[in-house]
Amino acid sequence: MLIPILGLVLGILIGFRLPVYFPVIYARYISIGLLAAMDTAFGGVRASLEGRFDTLVFVSGFFSNTLLAAAFTYIGDRLGVELYYAALFALGYRVFQNLGLIRHLLLKEVTGHSQKTGKA
């Protein structure tokens, strides 16, 4: 579980060092893409903990979900449909669900044995 956290911290450090900014006009789409990226990343952690991780599915999902979420929002804006909020609620819900499951799985791993012995 350390590796994702270390990766995240490293990435954030790199990001703050980079003299790059997203174009302000696209900030709205990038924020939705970011949410999709978080969803996929946490989904990957969960799958890894559950022992049914597939590298190809994970990596392809990460990039395609991010781009598709941004593209979806963009198309929605062009069509006058607020797909932004649809994506926001759907992805936000899933991020929290995944985080909850990850917590459960981690707790089970840490305290699982003692609980079992305690029950027994």
Binding site: M1, G11, I12, I14, A27, A37, M38, V45, L49
Partner: protein, 235 residues
Amino acid sequence: MSLRRQGQTALAIVFIILGIMIALQFKTQQRITASGLPSRRLEDVTARLRDVELDRERLLDEVFDLRQKLSEVRHESGLIQALEDELKKAKIAAGLVEVKGPGIVITLDDSKRVAHPGEDPNAFLIHDDDVLKVINELAAAGAEAISVNGQRLIATTEIRCAGPTISINNTRVAPPITIVAIGDPEALESGLKMRGGILETLAFWGIEVKIKRETEVIVPAYKGSLKFNWAKPTS
């Protein structure tokens, strides 16, 4: 333990990318909040900014161009006087300066006569075409500058019915209507009083017309904006 090792490299890479994205987005968002604008309006405002910047560039070009012309003209100092005279004439013709001189003042007011049954009460009111006819007559008699209720008549001036008022230079004007014209007072007055002319018609309907010759009248400058979106000089 082997289960937890699954896909750790891929996870690490993806989380690094995620971290970079979060950091960049964070920085971008900080920039946006620093500007104090809600992000919903941002697209609007950026588009407008781009427009304004284009405008500014165009104007800077224009300033540069004009400065160059100015310095060229200064070099040939003898030309300045001639150009200024030309400009003054053009400005008077265009109605951009206040002018004074001998002329006449005409006041038109709605008829006080009570309409008999069967008569059209509209005929007792001043209409846009009444004003137009008077002005046409003045121009024909050699008026050099004309104003109606303070509105200078220029090349693009409209005189048009606008409900109970008359629209002149896109300004609403209501009776009593005062027309000031600069020109030879005698010629102007006799032009109006021509037999079978406009004054006879107006008098027939009881519209009150007062004509006053003046040794000096003032015709104001055109106060509207001069914008040419469509017309471009051919040369």
